[in-house]
Symmetry: C2
Subunit: 306 residues, 2 copies
């Protein structure tokens, strides 16, 4: 699967993933009002608004980027209707030729991790039929439970041609509380990085493996170190834009060919219509502003990688 | 909320939580066949079977224990229909007077953790209405992202009178790969345990806090240490029974009053009907066998705590 992502990055010349992380605050009034008029003040209304919101963004950006990354928590917050909107979004992105990175950060003991892997990446036999859960292309995985929590995901990657990104160094301010702890003479994120490289050997797909890593744009120096620790792991880089990461911070995450990393931006793109830089917010130019923001981000990263 | 759990433990004299972790293999043929005859070989059929399975168990055990712990991965595996069965199970357990520990192991950066917390424990304002997601009483939380990933859960606990159990030392064989790493002169699980105690100070509810910890029954010596490190944290103990933990292993997880811990058993109870000890498996005595297995577990633990 990682090869498909790399092909997509080469085709679009954009190592960019758009984070589809809707919040009620980001939804233009025209979309939200219509949904509430149809469904009342309900989870169904928010879910419908999320779906229309995502659809308009995807319609305007699908030719510019290889992938999207919906953050499932945003949908899960609205229960079953929210998750129906999540699933519709995944399917619609596939129709539009986008790869989908399910930002689910799941992880459990072995047999339970297998269920999560089948839920988000694989499928389960029921009698003679295969039943799919959410069927994304990649999922993010939490490593705190160790190898036997991650390996079921790798098995599913191998069976269904999918990929994962393991949390190594997250973008948030307190990520260091555990991830930076020095043990065996090195920070814990390096230990996890070495595990990612080891796990990846079981699922190579071209120059990279289907076992990637999440490393926050907010820690560029750590990105440089981890790029060396994990030569076969693609890095998913959150934290660009709204969380503080800039294009120039990203250089070290990439390999010498300008590959090896894909940068996520959520708010900077999906809420760009609220930024006067992209037109009068009162006009609610959701799709157009998202497209312009992706083009700006593409230039920022290309400039930095030059 | 932790006080409600303690009251329930005292009332039932059972520091026991029944893990509602259905798998197709555990479902009696009479239930599965009926569901497939209604819904075909589909996710809907499995979801209906899970729901009937849970209902029969809950009907037979609700007076014996204070709480259940559905493992959401089992339901998520079957997509939207699976999660509908999960939600029906949570609501039904509440009707029967049981507390529900949502075993979701969620955790993300701050704003995203807030969404997860609202999803599983709280509710979200939509206009003037409050929209609930899955509305359990407790959730399990992964600490790998540090304080800013956990605090949004604590805020929601305080607002909605709920609780969490933070993963400290999990029951699986490779839990030590990261959790046992020695940093600052002590294993990482002790660092996380100390954080749990610190976080708990923000949500005290009687002698214990609403911030509990998950510590596997498979590591009794570590349980003893963590009991001291976290004097105000209730311990949720998985790994009893099928994973290898015995009643005598559990002593150290409890305080001097026989409180401070609650032990989970899943397969040993919900698949007890497949064990000849509880009657001829061909009779598929799902509910009766689950009840007998809970009573056996209660005696095992009471004997060990004497």
């Amino acid at each position: 699967m990682i090869r498909k992502l790399i092909d997509g990055i080469k085709r679009t010349e954009a190592p960019i993933v758009v984070g589809l992380d809707p919040k009620v605050d980001f939804i233009p009034k025209r979309i939200l009002d219509k949904a509430i008029s149809q469904h009342g003040e309900s989870a169904e209304a928010v879910a419908e608004a999320f779906w229309q919101f995502n659809k308009e963004i995807v319609d305007h950006i699908h030719d510019l980027v290889p992938a999207v990354k919906p953050q499932i928590a945003m949908y899960e917050q609205y229960g079953i209707p929210g998750l129906i909107a999540y699933k519709k979004t995944v399917d619609y992105c596939h129709e539009k030729g986008l790869l989908v990175i399910a930002d689910v950060k799941r992880g459990d003991i072995g047999s339970t991790s297998e269920s999560y892997a089948l839920s988000h990446l694989g499928g389960t036999k029921v009698g003679s039929s295969i039943v799919k859960g959410f069927d994304a292309d990649f999922a993010t995985v939490n490593p705190y439970l160790g190898s036997d929590g991650v390996k079921p995901f790798i098995n599913v990657c191998n069976e269904f041609d999918k990929g994962i990104f393991v949390l190594v160094k997250t973008s948030n301010p307190s990520s260091g509380e555990l991830q930076d702890k020095i043990a065996d003479g090195k920070p814990l994120y390096e230990t996890v990085g070495a595990l990612v490289e080891e796990w990846g050997a079981q699922s190579m797909d071209g120059d990279y493996s289907n076992v990637g890593a999440v490393v926050g744009a907010t820690y560029p120096e750590i990105g440089r170190i981890l790029r060396d620790v994990m030569p076969h792991a693609f890095i998913l880089v959150p934290g660009y834009g709204a969380q503080g990461g800039k294009g120039s911070d990203l250089v070290h995450f990439f390999d010498k060919d300008g590959l090896g990393a894909i940068v996520n931006s959520s708010r900077g793109i999906i809420a760009a219509w609220k930024n006067e830089k992209y037109g009068d917010p009162a006009k609610e130019l959701l799709g157009e502003a998202a497209r312009a923001a992706v083009i700006d981000m593409k230039e920022d990263i290309a400039g930095a990688l030059k």
